[in-house]
Amino acid sequence: MEPKPIIIALAGNPNSGKTTLFNKLTGSRQRIGNWPGVTIEKKEGTVKGLNHVTVQDLPGIYSLSPYTPEEEISRNYLLNEQPDVILNIVDSSNLERNLYLTTQLLELDIPVVVALNFIDVSRRDGDKIDSRKLEKKLGCPVIETSALKGEGVDECIARCISTVRSDDNTGRADKVAAPFGEEIEKTIKEIESAVGDVAQKRHRWTAIKAFERDEKALTGLSLTALQREMIEGIIRRTEEKLDDDSESIITTERYAAIKALTDNVIVRAERKGNLTRSDRIDRVVTHRFWAYPIFIAVMAALYYIAISLGINTQDMVDGWFGDGLIPLVQGWMEGLGASGWLTGLVTDGIIGGVGAVLSFVPQMIILFILLGIMEDIGYMARIAFILDRLFRRFGLSGKSFIPMLIGTGCSVPGIMASRTIESQRDRRMTIINTPMIPCGAKLPIIALVAGAVFGGAWWVAPLAYFLGLLAVIVSGIILKKTKMFYGDPSPFVMELPAYHVPSVGNVARSTWERSWSFIKRAGTVILLSSVVLWFLLHFAVIDGSLVMIEDEMIADSIAAKVGAVLGHLFAPLGFGGWQASLATVTGLIAKEEVISTFGVIFRIEDALGIIEEGQYAGVGAIAQHFTQLSAFSFMLFNLFCPPCFAAMGAIKREMNSAKWTWFAIGYLFVFAYILSFIVYQIGFLFTGGSFNVLSGLAVALLAGSLYLLFRKPRAGVFVSA
């Protein structure tokens, strides 16, 4: 007979080794997505060798309070989805704080099995924990584990299964694990009676939540107005008696009860002058002076390896496709007598599109490996620590630095690197602002304008980078003051976890998962849009019928016609010709395409190569198409306007919400448009143009932007600055 399916919910603090345990349990049998509508990752998997046992990984949480999205997700899952058992992973080197969550989980009336993890670390540090005693006091099984070493993992699963099967009584806390003080226990009992039969189970938990005035926990319970009044009365009375508010009372009592419990259960070792191994490492790493040089060195190494090596691999893959696969297939298809358009579609459109996606992958793999190592070690938290002061001003988190640094090479892996940011608001802000940083692909555009149009003026390129940085700062400040980003409940209170040796398994798995999800999600967007754009560029409507055209006839293509229409949109920015509009549109495939398209339009062979070599005379035809001002405006727009389709795909993947994805793209477009508009129109005035409606509009927009930048944000919501 088929064994009954069992669902194990995996819950625990961040940094407790939950990921390592999850990986050890499920191996490659994991499914990864996002919880609906949020940027928070959802992982579930099947236990290796046991098809009927599923593990649902819950976000790392410190508590089941109703404030952060992670806590809400975990709470709702545990309350509504009814897992069979909770495997609570506890960091034994941090017992008290971890047990804070444990006691809350025990109140949910779901069997709990505790995995006392990092037991090897506590042993090494000399702490002695009496697990049997802990088991008796908690009223649930406690198993010593070292997820990294694989110790105790099998026992955990076995115990979870037996707990569910035999309804093993040690899995259910019939007695209270860590009772509060007498006064509060009395109050809880009173509220339990007041609530009565309305709550079918979890009486104690419900009463505690009611006492905390946790409205979200009480939805679904039909309490009468009289009951609510009674409960409120009980709460007020206790609050007055103890001169404190109910939330504070419960958290204090809980921790006090836990302290009493742990004092009995753990014997801590003498610390050498109060320093653990991690403390000693941090003396250097977060040292008042040395922190920054070390940080810069680490970043330089990361950058060098990920970007330089990455670009090389990108070129290599491009070469395989451009010089290898495409001509091969082309020759093959032509040999078979396939029609021109089909050959074109397959080689340039589809294979070209696939190649575009895959060319990013090696770079991303390298990057993800490096990031994974840094995260696993625990260095990421230190980065956030030393950069926070600086980044806070611009509405970002210290952890936003890495995505942006990566973005200087390519914003696709940069956007994906924003995963390490816990706060949803900070993550969204980072995702939106990272594409503003000039990436490697935008370099040819900058080079074109600096070299060909401005005759090699030295200040153009640095100015472009500077503006990119400025744009991120300005954008961050403006967004931070808007209603949608202001008043986020997650304050910056962050644990600095102990340093750990990185786990190869974890790094490998996270690298694989991230790379694959990029290919899947972002990939489809890129592929589709490449095909569509290919079509628009290679077809024209001549004499009423759809005809495929040669490259030289690009001026007649549908795309060109579209460009002409879009030209009206871009005219106020100074580049209303169909050529520039079309180039901008093709820039959506990849920013280098802007130059390539110009090359095709102005009949310049290998425009990209020419610019890369600095032979600006060769692209003179393009330069002449612009005035200096319009070229500058064009450059600005392309630097900031919605990035390539690949980046859009990455945004979509990370935002996990159509609303936010469209917002990000729309915002970037509007930002770029207004910036170019202001620069061009006001520049126009300075170069002798006459004041008109557009100039007036530009001035108004400038004033408006400055207002958004410097205004006082709305008062009334307390948020750490």
Binding site: D279, T286, D388, R389, S490, P491
Partner: protein, 76 residues
């Protein structure tokens, strides 16, 4: 009122009360900073903010603006 901001590196104090409200306050309490718990200042970030403190034998970083919510009294 003495707050966490009044302490120097290496000093320990005992938490007396949590001011503020809502998510910020709850988060601080959830992390173990509750009445009667001793807290020690480990160090300040290179730019002076945030602060790294030691509570319940682990390291926590918290911004100065949030430290102002934590009322303490010096250990006798």
């Amino acid at each position: 009122m003495l707050t966490l901001n009044d302490l120097k590196v290496g000093e320990t104090a005992v938490v007396v009360r949590l001011h503020g409200q809502g998510a910020v306050r709850r988060r601080i309490m959830d992390m173990g900073i509750t009445k009667g718990v001793p807290v020690r200042i480990t160090k300040f970030a290179p730019l002076g903010d945030p602060v790294e403190i030691n509570v319940l034998d682990y390291e926590l970083t918290i911004r100065k603006s949030d430290c102002a919510l934590i009322e303490v009294e010096k250990e006798i």
